[in-house]
Each structure stands twice: as C-alpha cells, then as structure tokens.
C-alpha cells in the first residue's frame, strides 16, 4: 500500500479506531464518561486536522494530489474507494457532525444515566459508515457503507431503552428502514445485473451507451431506477417516504435526534452523489422529473405540517423534511442542466454547501432543545421555551441565531446556503427555476414556525416556577462552535468564499 493510499484511508481508519478504542477503554475503565467524551472529542478533532492535512482541498491544500487518490484500481483505471475533494469535504462535514453530536450528548445523557461509551462508539461507527458512503465508488462498498450508517442509527434511536417513546421510534425507524434497505438493495442488484459491473465508473460507461443509443430503457433498468429512487428517497426523508421521520425524531433522545436529522441525511445525499450523480448520471434526464416532484412535495409538505406543530422536536423533524426538499432543488438544478455546462457544477455545489451549513445549524437547534432538557422532565413542547431569552441568554441568542439561519435570513450562513441553491436553480431554468420560486414561498411560510420559537423565547413570559437553565460545558462549547460557524460563514467574507470554494471543488471532483 503506497503512502498516498494509506493517507487516503487514514481518516476512516482513525474514526473506526477511535470507536474501537472507546469500546476497549470502556471495558478497561468502566463508567468513566468524562474520560470517554474527552478522548472521543480529542480524537475527532485530530481526525479533522488529519483530513485537512491529507486533503485534497481547494488551492492545493493537503498532502494528497488535487485530483485525488483512487484505491484498488482495476484495469479500467477506476478505483473502489476514492479520496478526492468531494470525499474530503464530506468527511469534514461528517466529523464535525460527530463532534457536535458528541458534545451535545454528554450533558444530556449523564443526568439520565445513559452510558456514554456505548453512545460514543455507536455514533462513531455510524459516522464511519457515512465516510464510506462519501468515498465509495463501488456498489458493494456503497451498500456496506449504507448499512454501516443505518444500523447504528437504529440503535441510537432506541438508545433510551427504558423509554417507551424511544423504543417505539426505534422500531418504526428500524422496520421501515430495513424495508427500504431491501428495496434499495433490489434496485442495486438490478442495476448491477443489467450493467454488468459493480464499479461506478464502469456502470456510468455502460449507461452512457444506453443514453446515447436512444433505445428505450429496459424494463429491468427502469425498475432498478425506481427501486433505487425509492430507497434513497426514504433515507433522505423525502415526501412521500418520510413517515418515519417525525416519530423517530420525537422518540429519540434529543441529541440523537439532532444527529439523525443531519448525519444519515447528509450521508444519504453522499450516496446520491456517488450513485445517481456518479453512476447514473447518463440517465439523469430520466430521473430528473422525479427529483423535481420530490423536491416540490417534500419542501411544501414539510413546511405546511411544521406550521401546525407544537412539539419542537416534531416541528424540527418536519423542518428537516423541508430542508431535504431544498437540497433536492440543488440536485434538480444539477440534473436539469445540460451535461458539461457550468450549471451542473453549480447545482451540486449548492447541494454540498447547503448540506454542510444545514448540518451544524440544525444540530445547533437540537442542541438548544437538548440543553433545555438537560434536567429530565422538560417536555419538548414549544411552550417550554417561554421566556428562555431571559432564563438562559446564551441559549436564547444561539437558538434565535439558528432559527434565523434556518429561515435563511442574511447575513447568517443559512441565507447563503439558500442563495446558492437559488442561483443554481435559476441558472438551470425551466421547471427548476419554478422550484426556486416555490422554495422561496416555502421559506416565507417556514419563517412562521421558526420565528414562533423566538416569539416564545423573547415575547412570552416564563411560566411561574420555571427554573433557570444551566448549560453544561460540553454543550456550551458545542453551541459556541456551531453558532460561530453560522455567523462567521455568513459575515466573514474570506470564510464564506473558502467554504463555497470547497463545495465547488468538491462538486467539480465529481463531474
């Protein structure tokens, strides 16, 4: 194994190693939650640095060559695992997600007597699955990555095993998730059967021939596409495959909900990038209509139902559905653009940027809920936020910030995310431009429920006997990090540009 190949695998190895280390430490030194948290956070920070050092990142940053490294290259010159700028970008996102989820979980799990080590290990395994998804260029690898991602997810959802809601959410998530995995797998099988390869590059070559030949799509391929579409639509929680989301989100322990709302979602988008954009790109004209319809229904239904929610976790669940819709607009912008046009890259760039921004602002929002619920017994009703601006100023400001960013009000990061998606959509034109308009109308409707939280925090008085909220140190650190990211990416131009550049280069790496 060459040095470059080793470097390419290093981040994944680190995360998996860290997970195992946590398991071992827990056996050797049981019940040392703080130690575990510290080691895990430290390890993740190291991983972040390693990813940055390995690269490749825009501007030639990183030890690895700009064009990336392929591993297990076959005769056609395409690898099974790849570390290019897209991988680096996604890995950064995933590790940040893991780190933040970890920080937010510590102060929540402890008062409930939930073991930290198991949580940490499970989370890290899930993240490693996500990282596999981000780097796989082989159907089998992608399938393994997906399972590695979702199986720990089921466990995390049911993590509070004595809590009826948690287990109920978990079983719903598990049953439906497995169902969709089976559907996805069948689609995968059909595609690999009818293209004759598991390699993404090879499949793309075959399909390019199909697309160029103007021959009708074979029944097998069409069914394969249908099954794959359904499978990934479930994973990203697109309407009408979203049913599991509200229940699973509501039931899970809040930090887990935070993780579920971003980790599997972004990872599933990574899967989409590797599968649909990489392998199925030649057929994009065929799947574009479905993306458009899914995007439209997803954001609209997500927002409409979120408007009516009184439970903040359910509200954020529907909101996350809506955000899936927005990200799908980016995908549609890619798919709607002529092959090779700059609009293609624009769409993916927007999707990636949106995903990254969405991860920490949404995690931040859940973290605020978690921080509020640090003391067991605090419900997830929006009313429990009443007067929070006064009871816990930091929490109030941070939550306001996340809500504004989720709404897309400048100069927060969330605004730039939306703006990029719209640029891409308008760029592509046609029905996708219509999606941009629909997206903005949705954003306006969404403002209602996001701002409602602000209303409760600042414009309503706390109920009598409301106790002051104390925020743990880990949570505080995590909140500051995510809030700072939300603000800094918005208002510090070089940072904005840098993140956009990363997304752009990542998108280009794919095309």
């Amino acid at each position: 194994m060459s040095q470059n190949e080793l470097l390419a695998l290093l981040p994944l190895i680190l995360v998996v190693g860290l997970a195992m280390a946590v398991v071992i430490i827990d056996i050797v030194l049981p019940d040392r939650d703080d130690l575990i948290s510290a080691i895990a956070s430290g390890g993740l920070i190291v991983t972040l640095i390693v990813i940055a050092v390995c690269g490749p990142l825009p501007g030639g940053v990183g030890l690895l060559p700009r064009e990336g490294v392929q591993l297990f290259v076959d005769s056609s010159g395409s690898g099974v695992i790849v570390r290019d700028q897209l991988t680096a970008f996604l890995d950064l996102t995933f590790v940040v997600i893991a780190l933040l989820s970890l920080l937010f979980a510590v102060d929540y799990l402890k008062p409930r007597g939930l073991p930290m080590a198991e949580f940490t290990a499970t989370l890290l395994f899930a993240i490693s699955g996500a990282m596999v998804l981000g780097s796989g260029r082989d159907l089998l690898i992608l399938f393994l990555g997906l399972e590695l991602l979702v199986l720990p997810g089921y466990m995390l959802a049911g993590y509070a095993k004595r809590d009826g809601l948690s287990t109920e959410g978990a079983i719903k998530y598990f049953l439906l998730g497995s169902f969709s995995s089976a559907i996805f797998l069948f689609g995968l099988a059909l595609v690999l059967g009818f293209t004759g390869s598991t390699r993404v590059a090879a499949i793309a070559d075959v399909l390019a021939g199909v697309a160029a030949g103007n021959a009708p799509l074979s029944l097998g391929l069409a069914m394969g596409l249908a099954l794959l579409t359904t499978g990934v639509a479930f994973k990203i929680a697109a309407v009408p495959f979203h049913y599991w989301t509200p229940d699973a989100y509501q039931g899970s322990p809040t930090p887990v909900t935070g993780y579920l709302s971003v980790g599997p979602k972004i990872a599933a988008f990574a899967l989409i990038l590797r599968l649909f954009v990489d392998a199925l790109a030649p057929l994009k004209a065929d799947w574009l209509p479905f993306v458009i319809v899914l995007a439209a229904t997803t954001m609209t239904l997500g927002n409409l139902v979120a408007v009516t929610q009184d439970n903040i976790k359910r509200m954020l669940a529907y909101s996350s559905i809506a955000h899936t819709g927005y990200m799908l607009v980016g995908l549609a912008a890619y798919a709607g653009a002529a092959a090779g046009s700059p609009a293609e890259a624009q769409g993916l760039e927007a999707l990636l940027f949106y995903g990254a921004i969405y991860s920490f602002m949404n995690l931040g929002a859940f973290a605020c809920v978690a921080a509020l619920q640090r003391r067991p017994g605090v419900t997830s009703q929006i009313a429990s936020f009443a007067g929070l601006g006064r009871r816990a100023p930091l929490l109030g400001v941070a939550m306001t910030l996340f809500m504004l960013s989720l709404t897309g009000i400048p100069p927060t990061a969330g605004f730039f995310a939306k703006a990029l998606v719209i640029i891409a959509a308008v760029n592509t034109g046609g029905w996708v431009a219509f999606l941009a308009v629909l997206m903005m109308l949705n954003a306006a409707a969404a403002a209602f429920y996001y701002l409602r939280v602000v209303v409760y925090m600042y414009m309503r008085e706390a109920p009598d006997g409301a106790r002051p909220v104390s925020i743990g140190n880990f949570t505080r650190a995590g909140l500051i990090v995510s809030a700072a990211l939300t603000v800094v990416i918005g208002v510090v131009p070089p940072v904005t540009t840098a993140v956009i550049d990363m997304a752009r280069e990542a998108a280009r790496a794919l095309l």
Partner: protein
C-alpha cells in the same frame, strides 16, 4: 478638513453596530449608561452622516464616496457602497430619526432596555445600508437585516396583540423579499450568461446598463415590485401596517413610518426603474391605478379609525400612495415630488407618532373617543400636535405641501383626470385629520382625561427635544424645499433618462 480619503459610508453604516456591541458589554443594571451610550452612538452616526454633506457635489452625475471591495469573488459579489442625492437625503433622514427615536424611548422602554437599544442600533445599520448599497446582493442583505430588529422591537416591546402583528409584518415582508432574492439572482445570472463572467454580476452600476431580456424584466420587476410594494405599503398589501403600528412602541412606529416605508419607495427608484425600464413601462399603469386607490382609500378608511395610531397608519397608506404615484409617472417633477414626499412624510408622520406617544405615555390609551379637550391642560402639546396635523394635511409653507404638489403636478402632466382623482385627498386629508384633532384637542376635557388629574402634564423638556428638530425641519423643507430638491435633481434626471419617461400610453 479633508474627508475624501476616509471610508465615510462604511463609517456611517457600522458606527451603530459598534455602539450595539459596546452596549452588549454594559451590565444590565447600568440603565442610564446604556441609554446614553445608545443616544451617543446615534448622535455620532448622525454627525458622520452630516459630514457627507460638505463633500457632496450635487451637480455630479453617478455615485459619490464609492467604496468597493471584493466579497465573494466567485459570484462577483462585492461590498460596494456609494451615494447620490437620493440616498444622501434618505440617509440623513434615517440618522436624524434614529437619534430622535432613541431619545424618545428613554422613558417608555422600561424592560429589557439593553436589548432594545441593541436592536435599534442594528436596525439603523440595516436601514442605512439599504440606502447605500450598490451591490444587489449587499442590498438584499441589508434589506433583510432591517427585518429582524423590527420584528423584535414590535414583538417584545409592543402592545397586547404584538405577536400577531409582528409575525404578520415579518411574514408579509419575507414573502416579498424572498421572491426579490430570486429575481436578483436571476438578473445576476442573466448578466453572467451574457458576459460569460460573474464579474460585476451584482454590481448595480453594471447591471443598470445591461438590457435584460423582456420576459425576465417583466418577471423580475414583478418580484421586486412585490417586495417594495409590501414595504411601502401599496394597496392591497397594506394591512400589515395598521397592525404593526398599533402594536409597536412609539420609537418603533416612528422608525417604521419614518424610514422603513421609505425603503420601498427608494427601492423602486434605485433598482426597479433603472434595471427593468421596459417592464416598468408595462407595469406602470397598474401601479398608478393602485396608487390612486391607495391615496383615496387610505384617506377614507382613516376617517373612521377609532385608534389614533391606526388613523395615522392609514394616513401613511394614503401619503405613500403619492410616492408610488410620483415615481411611476416617470416625470421629473413627479419623481422629485415623490422623494420630497418620502422625506417629509418621514418627518411629519414620525412626529405624529411621537405626538401619539406623548398622549399614550400619560393615558396608556389611544382611543380617540376617550380623548377631548387637551388644549386646555396641555397647550404646548396641542400646538405641536396641531402643527404636525397641519403639516400632514399638506398645508403650504410646511414640508408636506411641496412634495404633494409636485406629485400632483407631474401626474397632471400625464393625466389630468388621475391628478384630479388624487387631489380629492386634499379634502379627505383635511377631513380626517381635523376631525381627529377636533375630537382629541378641542372641546371640554373628557371624563377619561379628567380622571388622570395631575398626571396629565404638558410635554416634558425631553419630549420637546425630540419634537423641536422635527418642527424645524418641517418648516425648513416647506419654506426652502430647494435644500432637498437641489440634491435630487441630478439623480432623478439620471433615473428618468434610463427608464425613458415620460410614461406614454392611453391615459385620459
């Protein structure tokens, strides 16, 4: 003193932000310090805005004090500021009303003072930024920055039904502005597609010379129109305004009426017309009709309002109708009148809200029916209120008249019938304002007010300090409107040259 080298525009925009940051570090208990720090910041900002005047050349074309820096070069987004006469007068209006509003909230704002002052100063940042931004993206950002502090100001320090009002305000405004964002991006993209580069794609000075495709113009104009029409607000997008005004605290109402509504009018002049001239001609007849409706309708509905603030709010709908009317007849007098009207409406209506605030401070009520006979116990107040009432109904010699008349004049040039319809408002305006004044100030002291006893005091020196500058300005702009007209002559000419006025077509 040579000021040309200093980034004055950046200074005037971000001075309030510095003040807000400083206030953030003031302990909550130090209320006096917070107050004076906020006022000081606003006054410094005001002073900086005045520093712009000596170096400004009214005869020069284009923008002055231009500052440019790359922001997001990938999309050609710049931090680009600059001002012409139109922005200049509106910036000075903003800085003036800001310190007055801050001073006016010394008494009324009793809870969460620190947050209030911070919100208010950030609001000022956004407002000034909107008037100075020459990059469409930057403009949009400032446009939205205005939204959040105002949302908080109404929502936290507002009246009983404040949450409904503030959500309505925000959602309404957002629907417009988000679509405008789509239009901005579409315009920029269309520029990029034509030139093959993002450089300058958001640069107003580049875009205004770029002839957009007619369909895009039509749609983009529609989106901009919606955003600005909601802000102005034009009939039938006006219903958020009475609610917002009624619930907002006094200072919020002052700024809302004084500056926020002007953002829409400014947007029309600065962006809609030069960017989409063809579409402007296509849309103009509709807008003129809506303006005429707003003028008359606002006045009639104002007549029967039971609440002082609602009355003034509907009068704003009517008065702002002149602004849109004056803009969309594409005629020099009309547009100059519209700008003058914006400034004067800002001053006069702002002052009227201050006057209502004075009553409210003493009575905690704004119901006209409960008032009466204020002239006897509070003569100075009655005189000042009367002064602004007269200014608002367009008494010649005071600020409101010249702008209104110029709009009428321009409209008459385009369509005498339209002018005749619009000018019915001089009767209606006199009717609702004088009726209100009669019920509040004349007559015997009402039982409700009698019950207040010695609490019913005349204006305090502090209130006088807030009102006197506005009296002076109202008089000055009535007697010497040239102070403003000389500044806006050149930019109005430029806008009209781009839009290709006057409006032609089958006007009666």
């Amino acid at each position: 003193m040579d000021l040309t080298g200093l980034p004055l525009l950046t200074g005037v925009i971000f001075t309030p932000l510095i003040g807000a940051l400083l206030i953030a570090f003031v302990p909550r208990e130090r209320e006096a310090l917070t107050r004076w720090l906020a006022l000081g910041t606003a006054l410094v900002t005001f002073a900086i805005s005045l520093l712009l005047l000596p170096g400004f050349d009214p005869a020069a074309t284009g923008f002055q004090y231009v500052e440019t820096a790359d922001w997001i070069p990938a999309f050609g987004i710049q931090y680009k500021l600059g001002l012409d006469g139109i922005s200049l007068v509106l910036v000075v209006l903003t800085t003036t009303l800001s310190w007055i509003s801050i001073l006016a909230s010394f008494g009324p704002i009793k809870s969460r003072l620190k947050e209030f002052m911070i919100s208010f100063l950030i609001l000022e940042v956004g407002m000034i930024g909107v008037f100075l931004a020459l990059d469409l993206f930057l403009f949009y950002i400032f446009w939205e920055v205005v939204l959040v502090p105002m949302y908080l100001i109404i929502g936290i320090w507002g009246g009983a039904n404040r949450i409904y009002a503030t959500l309505k305000f925000v959602l309404y405004t957002l629907i417009g502005s988000l679509l405008m964002l789509v239009a901005i991006l579409a315009a920029a993209f269309s520029f990029q597609a034509a030139t093959g580069s993002w450089a300058g794609a958001f640069d107003f000075e580049q875009l205004r010379g770029f002839g957009f495709d007619p369909t895009l113009q039509f749609l983009a104009f529609g989106a901009f129109f919606l955003a600005f029409a909601i802000k102005v607000p034009m009939f039938p997008f006006h219903t958020w305004l009475p609610d917002a005004h009624v619930e907002a605290p006094t200072a919020g109402s002052v700024i809302l009426a004084g500056v926020l509504l002007k953002l829409g009018g400014y947007g029309f002049i600065r962006f809609c017309l030069p960017l989409f001239p063809q579409a402007a001609h296509e849309w103009a007849p509709l807008i003129i009709v809506l303006s005429l409706i707003a003028i008359i309708y606002g006045a009639i509905v104002a007549m029967v309002q039971p609440d002082l603030k609602k009355l003034v709010a509907y009068s704003s709908v009517s008065h702002m109708g002149f602004v849109t009317l004056g803009i969309f007849i594409f005629q020099p007098q009309g547009m100059q009148g519209a700008i003058l009207q914006m400034v004067n409406h800002g001053i006069i209506t702002g002052a009227l809200f201050l006057c209502v605030g004075v009553i409210y401070e003493r009575t905690h009520d704004r119901t006209i029916a409960k008032m009466g006979g204020l002239a006897a116990p509070t003569p100075v107040y009655a005189a000042i209120f009367g002064f602004f009432m007269l200014a608002s109904l367009g008494l010649p010699g005071l600020g409101g008249f010249v702008g209104e008349f110029l709009v009428f004049l321009g409209t008459f040039d385009y369509s005498p019938i339209a002018a005749a319809i619009a000018s019915i408002v001089v009767i209606l305006g006199a009717a609702y304002l004088m009726w209100m004044y009669q019920r509040v100030v004349f007559g015997e002291l009402s039982d409700f007010l009698k019950g207040l006893g010695h609490h019913l005091t005349d204006v305090t020196p502090q209130e006088l300090v807030t009102l006197t500058p506005l009296i002076a300005l109202t008089l000055a702009f009535g007697v010497a409107p040239g102070l403003i007209l000389d500044l806006i002559q050149m930019p109005v000419g430029e806008v009209l040259a781009r839009v290709g006025g006057p409006l032609t077509g089958a006007a009666p």
